[in-house]
């Protein structure tokens, strides 16, 4: 499997074209990040506003390398027992209850306290063995012999302690379970952490990661992305739509539309069999792009002008293409 990794991740160009085959249009920066991460065995911390394809990057990488993807969604209050492992407490208890009657057999022949203790010691580890261990995402990620892609989503939503607790896993790809010992990954997983930047992450965590920032895309890249994700859309409409979205991003809005919204909008237009961007159509479907009533209201007046502009870009692009 490592050979397939080596082939797919040999150079920036290979990575770009490889991700292209799984419909992810990567910029050079993104491809470089994966290349370096692979070379240095380091996790990648991906930042960027919502919907620029942070999570998608991990999914696509897993698809490209044909590796299992383990996804861990972070939230406030997430702790080790949910992220790493948990003892199957109920099972342990049940077993002790059921085995209560067996205790006589075990103790048979034991004379005196010391003797019984020695007898008991022989069984002491039974209840803290892997049989009673419930592996959670992080531990699972270390257990794949062929390696995997581990996605720790929205790390900024978790608590600070949890961040600290991740450090051992991220730097050495191992975890220590006091009752059992240290479990180390045979093949280090490719780790992506994503963050929406709702809070500053600790320096210790940042230091251990490569830091990739995915900005909102340029028109050209965005067009490629839409083309890859919504192949049914006609080229001219696509160019117009992208130009429109790009203009929207220039406005003073509460929440700027990001790539996922552009893609959604393209899909909606395809579903509606739209031939062209008509002002009314745009008005009706604008709620796909803009998520605040206020934004929609503020944009309304400028739609015709922006469409005219988009028309020009589409014409121009078209002309350029034919020449």
């Amino acid at each position: 499997m490592s050979t397939s990794k080596d082939i797919h991740l040999a150079s920036v160009e290979k990575i770009i074209s490889g991700l292209g085959t799984v419909s992810y249009v990567a910029s050079r920066q993104i491809a470089t990040a994966i290349l370096i991460a692979q070379n240095l065995d380091k996790p990648i911390l991906v930042e960027g506003s919502a919907g620029v394809g942070k999570t998608e990057l991990a999914l696509s990488t897993a698809a490209l390398l044909d590796l299992p993807l383990i996804r861990m969604q972070c939230y406030e209050g997430l702790d080790e027992s949910k992220a790493l492992y948990e003892w199957k407490y109920g099972k342990q208890l049940l077993y002790t209850q059921v085995l209560k009657d067996k205790i006589g057999d075990v103790m048979q022949g034991a004379v005196g306290l010391r003797d019984s203790m020695t007898q008991l010691h022989q069984f002491s580890d039974v209840f803290f063995s892997e049989d009673f261990l419930e592996p959670r995402p992080l531990l699972k990620a270390l257990q794949y012999d062929e390696g995997c892609v581990l996605l720790i989503d929205e790390i900024d939503k978790s608590d600070e302690e949890f961040e600290a607790f991740l450090l051992e896993i991220l730097s050495a790809f191992q975890v220590t379970i006091p009752e059992i010992g240290t479990i180390k990954a045979k093949t280090p997983p490719i780790v992506f952490l994503t963050s929406n930047n709702t809070r500053d992450l600790g320096d210790a965590l940042k230091r251990r990661c490569l830091h990739l920032f995915i900005p909102l895309p340029e028109a050209n890249l965005e067009e490629q992305i839409v083309a890859a994700r919504v192949p049914d859309i006609e080229a001219r409409l696509r160019r117009k739509l992208v130009s429109f979205v790009q203009q929207l991003r220039g406005l003073d809005l509460k929440k700027l539309p990001s790539i996922s919204e552009t893609i959604d909008w393209a899909r909606v237009l395809v579903l509606l069999h739209a031939e062209d961007l008509e002002p009314d159509l745009v008005r009706e479907t604008l709620n796909v792009l803009l998520k605040f009533e206020e934004d929609i209201r503020n944009t309304d007046k400028q739609i015709p002008e922006m469409l005219r502009q988009a028309e020009k870009v589409a014409e121009h692009g078209h002309l350029a293409a034919t020449i």
Partner: protein, 483 residues
């Protein structure tokens, strides 16, 4: 290989990109992996491993481009070379003439003097100084760039601190490169009446001017790289300590940045603190009750959660004429506080009290402050009226969890101070904090009613710099979390 990278790290640190030692090691590995050949790849790869936030990425980009513009010097020297290329066009014969002059030197005394001066130079102190003239004549920009680089290291160009040093350091650098000998040579030719009018003199003079410009630009880049941000940081630190009313309007923009950074710092600090206080403990009582059915064997566990008290703050800001110079910052501060605290009720007044929470919430800081100031600012103060308004409309919202912050000078133009209302507030609120931009010594002078209000404040402090503001808010947050 290693040294330029170390220098680059220094430039990064100077540009306020935090680079730890471990990151330097990472970066070295990165360089080993990608090599120096592909500049864009190198840039992307380094950015991944040393610049760890969006702001740092921007600074990294600038620093990288600046730093490598320096090594790419040749590009600029090409531009320099082209006038020189032009010159050889005219002087092509002259260049031919030079060796010719040397040959002819046996016969022609003047020319031989020139030649011997050059030779003497070369024997005197090695190749550098001889080559300075030669390099200029040959238009060998690469060699010049290399010589300049070496000279820069020699004079410690990277230690530049202030912009005005650049001419001095540039001159030193040129001296190091052997400028004196070039000058000697030029003046020798100049004085020599028999020197052939082959344009060599002009070429050298022109070269010297070019060299000066180049050196000065070089130093400017050094300044950009190593000193500019440090200077800005120094300025910001200075502003943090300056009395608010003394801050000149031209620094408002920087102040905005400083205050916002402070707010952000406080915010991230206390967001974490909240969470730390929220650890679960086993709720033994409820666990036992829940597990009665299992014969008291605790199959299901119930956890206790500590509810934390978020600070609830009422802030009242004086924006009247008497505090005109500080009102801006007090509002700026309120605005920042609004971003930090979950529950903040803000008011502003000159005489009548107005709620401004909505303005702070809806507008950006640049818009909100003028809007508020225009609406209620810069009239004459009446603290009594303000307190009456507060009592009539908002007193009920104050309970034992509320902290009241009053920002103002307590100068009430002789009107009734109404301190009994302050007393009511004092009795209801958890804490009353009065932050006064005036120094303690002027409290109670003239129309200042601070002595009347002071007994009804838990804390009354002078607060007229950003640093003080930060400290006070820090205390406030800490105490409210502990509760």
């Amino acid at each position: 290989m290693q040294q330029p990278f170390e220098q680059f790290v220094r430039a990064l640190r100077a540009a306020d990109v935090q680079v730890s030692v471990a990151e330097v090691l990472d970066a070295t590995e990165v360089i080993a992996a990608v090599g120096y050949d592909d500049r864009q790849l190198l840039k992307d790869a380094l950015a991944l491993s040393v610049a760890k936030s969006v702001e740092e990425k921007e600074r990294f980009d600038t620093a990288f481009d600046l730093f490598y513009a320096r090594t790419e010097f040749k590009g600029e020297f090409d531009a320099w070379q082209s006038p020189d290329d032009l010159a050889p066009d005219e002087q092509e014969p002259a260049e031919d003439c030079e060796p010719g002059g040397g040959e002819g030197g046996d016969a022609d005394g003047g020319a031989s003097g020139d030649g011997s001066a050059g030779e003497a130079g070369s024997t005197e102190a090695g190749s550098t100084e001889a080559s300075l003239a030669e390099m200029i004549l040959a238009g060998d920009s690469q060699a010049l760039a290399a010589a300049m680089e070496a000279a820069a290291t020699e004079v410690g160009a990277g230690n530049i601190k202030v912009f005005t040093q650049r001419n001095y350091l540039a001159r030193q650098m040129l001296d190091q490169m052997g400028l004196r000998d070039l000058e000697k040579m030029i003046s020798a030719i100049d004085r020599d009446p028999e020197a052939p009018a082959d344009g060599k003199l002009e070429a050298l003079k022109q070269g010297r001017v070019q060299l000066f410009n180049e050196a000065r630009e070089y130093m400017e880049r050094q300044f950009e790289l190593y000193a500019r941000t440090a200077g800005e940081q120094f300025r910001e630190e200075y502003l943090e300590r300056t009395v608010l009313s003394n801050i000149p309007p031209r620094d408002f923009a920087i102040m905005g940045r400083v205050v916002r950074r402070m707010a952000k710092k406080l915010a991230s600090k206390y967001v974490r603190r909240h969470r730390r206080a929220r650890r679960g403990h086993l709720d033994v009582r409820r666990t036992l009750r829940r597990n009665m059915a299992h014969d008291g064997v605790p199959f299901e566990t119930v956890w206790k959660y500590q509810t934390i008290q978020k600070p609830s703050v009422v802030a009242i800001c004086d924006v009247s004429g008497s505090v005109a110079s500080t009102a801006r910052f007090l509002l700026l501060f309120l605005y920042s506080l609004n971003e930090v605290l979950a529950k903040l009720d803000s008011f502003a007044f000159s005489s009548h009290l107005e709620k401004i929470s909505a303005e702070l919430e809806d507008h950006s800081v640049e818009e909100a402050i003028p809007v508020i100031l225009q609406k209620i600012g810069f009239r004459s103060t009446d603290y009594g009226q303000m307190l009456r308004d507060f009592r009539d409309n908002h007193l009920a919202s104050i309970d034992r969890r509320t902290t009241v912050i009053i920002l103002g000078d307590g100068r009430t133009n002789g009107a009734d101070p109404e301190q009994q209302i302050m007393k009511q507030i004092y009795e209801r609120a958890r804490r009353v904090i009065w932050l006064n931009p005036e120094p303690l010594s002027s409290w109670g002078t003239g129309d200042s009613e601070m002595p009347a209000y002071q007994p009804y404040c838990h804390v009354a402090k002078t607060c007229n710099t950003v640093k003080q503001l930060e400290r006070i808010i820090d205390d406030l947050m800490r105490s409210s979390v502990r509760a």
